[in-house]
């Protein structure tokens, strides 16, 4: 086996493993999506939270998150719970303010509740960019590595040595 074919076999093995990990991650996420039940909740309070963190340059970095207090019912029992948007923390306060304005107190929206503990609630749990993000990136990486491995394998076809 020549060097290119050996490299392609290694890349294929890594690609296959990555693809399997991605598929497992996707399955877990989809199972979580299926498990948490969608419920309609009323926003009772909405506020923006500021997060300060240090950076490598020694300067403080500021990011923001949208936070909500929600009221909903499960099994005829009223529940109040707090939730933070699981979007990665945003650096623009305007974007967060606009999001909060969309869900001002009194508005209703779909959220996802843990049936094992109805006080646990998640926002944006549907099959969206946040919940499927990482598994899709890992799956793409695995598939790409397999494509590259195939190309290297073909390029490594032994030929006549002139």
């Amino acid at each position: 086996m020549n060097a290119l074919r050996l490299a392609s076999a290694i890349v294929a093995a890594v690609g296959f493993l990555t693809l399997m990990v991605g598929a497992l991650m996707l399955r877990n996420r989809l199972e979580a999506i299926r498990k948490w039940q969608p419920v309609e909740a009323e926003v009772t309070r909405a506020w923006m939270e500021e997060h300060r963190g240090g950076s490598d340059t020694g300067e403080d970095s500021i990011s923001y998150s949208a936070n909500y207090e929600l009221a909903y019912a499960f099994g005829g029992k009223p529940i109040r719970s707090a939730a933070r948007s699981n979007d990665p923390l945003l650096t623009s306060s305007e974007v967060v303010q606009a999001r909060i304005a969309r869900h001002s107190p009194g508005t209703r929206g779909l959220v996802y509740m843990n049936p094992d503990d109805p006080s646990q609630v998640r926002l944006n749990l549907g099959p969206n960019a946040v919940t499927l993000g990482w598994p899709l990136w890992v799956l793409t990486a695995g598939a790409s590595l397999l494509l590259f491995a195939g190309s290297f394998w073909l390029m490594g076809t032994p030929g006549v040595e002139w």
Partner: protein, 153 residues
């Protein structure tokens, strides 16, 4: 801005994909045909290569081959596809391709004088590599676009 970046990424990937597809078209659909060439003579050729101010003496094989393609007879010089700073390496290759031996070559039907030594699978490997880069970059662009979509909450 992230959306613009996604579109640029998809476009960049598309360029690679089209380049790979075009290469594949040239190599497969345009179709090189295989024929056998007879080696008439072979010798070690010495040449110099200058890189970053340093001149290196290298050696490669040089043959004269003849073949028949599309009903026409051709007699052409042919350079080996490998060079080395050791003339002995080239001599070994020459001994594996002695005068009188026959080897496969691949020519274009429209221009039989244009021929290559690499078989189809080696040549389409490069096309697939370009297409693989294109597909990967397009997938990254699509994922960026997907993630740029605003969330409900």
């Amino acid at each position: 801005m992230p959306k613009l970046l996604s579109y640029v990424t998809v476009l960049f990937g598309l360029v690679f994909f089209i380049a790979g597809s075009w290469l594949l078209y040239v190599q497969v659909l345009q179709g090189r045909k295989e024929t056998e060439a007879e080696i008439l003579s072979g010798e070690v050729e010495r040449f110099e290569q200058t890189e970053e101010g340093t001149t290196t003496t290298l050696y490669r094989s040089k043959y004269e081959v003849s073949f028949t393609a599309e009903g026409r007879f051709f007699r052409r010089p042919l350079q080996g596809n490998f060079s080395s700073n050791n003339a002995g390496d080239i001599q070994k290759r020459l001994s594996r391709n002695p005068p009188g031996s026959r080897r496969p070559i691949y020519y274009l039907r429209a221009r039989p004088e244009s021929f290559v030594l690499e078989g189809l699978s080696r040549r389409i490997g490069t096309s697939f590599l370009f297409m693989a880069i294109g597909v990967t970059v397009m997938a990254v662009g699509a994922l960026l676009l997907y993630q740029a979509q605003p969330l409900e909450w």
